[in-house]
Symmetry: C2
Subunit: 149 residues, 2 copies
DNA sequence: AGACTCGTAACTAAGTAAGTTACATGAAAC
DNA sequence: GTTTCATGTAACTTACTTAGTTACGAGTCT
């Protein structure tokens, strides 16, 4: 798992879980999907469990499953549950008395609030089901291609 | 200069430069504004020079000045010149053959392209002159307050 | 010539996040 | 109830990124 790919990796995992709703997948299995360590998986998606996006169970036959239907899980929720920041830049004061800095921070914060609202809105329109559907589309395509060739 | 505050710090510097258009400011002076090192300043705003946002001159009386009027410098240009990414998450393939991953990356890239266009558009509407104007507003306010109290 | 300032390379230090190890906790199977 | 399997989590290591620093060459004004 590369840096800054937590959202992408988590989505990868979740789509696999959407494809396997009949039984739970272990962190071990999930880890192989994104070429990493089971512990990293557990740590990464722990927040999703708290948000009800996935459920986990221990012991024999345990593992991870979606907490609700893929249609009801939006990328906005996933991103939020991961604790991801949509915008990368910081605006914490470094010289609290400086009016120039205050003006800069005010402008940047306004922008940030508006931008985050916008991005969250966009992300909330994409669901896990959409990704799964796209996956199936690609799967069909490969199938057709294989027959054709 | 804290991490992830490059945009904010650079704006701070640029507004100061907008306030001092009659003469150049040295990296040394700029560095004190954002509590850092002259070399860090030079390194950080080197990209702005290449983009024509600022000019630099060497030797006695040298330093940095705005390359054009503050009204003509947008935050979008500044952000781009700094090489900042507006969106933090990565979408590079880690398992090139996996159709699930392909679907995830496709969705994320679509979102990213659209989101970046949107953010850049928003940032292009804010100019250095706007920040300077806000600074002056704050300055007046303090003045009034001082008189009142 | 001397003082000053940028340009840049090379190195150091600090902070962040992934990867790893280890072990406790809980649940199912036998 | 013991064994096996899986999560939960803490602690540590490693890799990477970026700010900070030092040093010095090159250009410019007095």
């Amino acid at each position: 798992m590369k840096r800054n790919s937590r959202l992408s990796s988590t989505l990868h995992i979740l789509v696999h879980m959407a494809e396997t709703q009949e039984h739970a997948l272990t962190s071990e299995q999930l880890a192989t999907f994104i070429h990493t360590n089971p512990v990293v998986v557990r740590r990464t998606i722990a927040g999703l469990r708290d948000a009800g996006i996935v459920t986990s169970s221990r012991g024999h036959g345990g593992g991870w499953q979606l907490g609700r239907a893929p249609e009801k899980i939006s990328l906005a929720e996933i991103s939020a549950a991961l604790g991801e920041t949509l915008l990368p830049f910081g605006t914490e004061p470094e010289s609290p008395g400086c009016l120039v800095e205050q003006a800069v921070i005010a402008a940047l914060d306004d922008f940030r609030v508006e931008a985050e609202r916008l991005l969250a809105e966009k992300l909330s329109r994409i669901t896990l089901a959409d990704l799964a559907a796209d996956f199936h589309r690609r799967y069909e395509l490969i199938g057709v291609t294989s027959h054709a060739v």
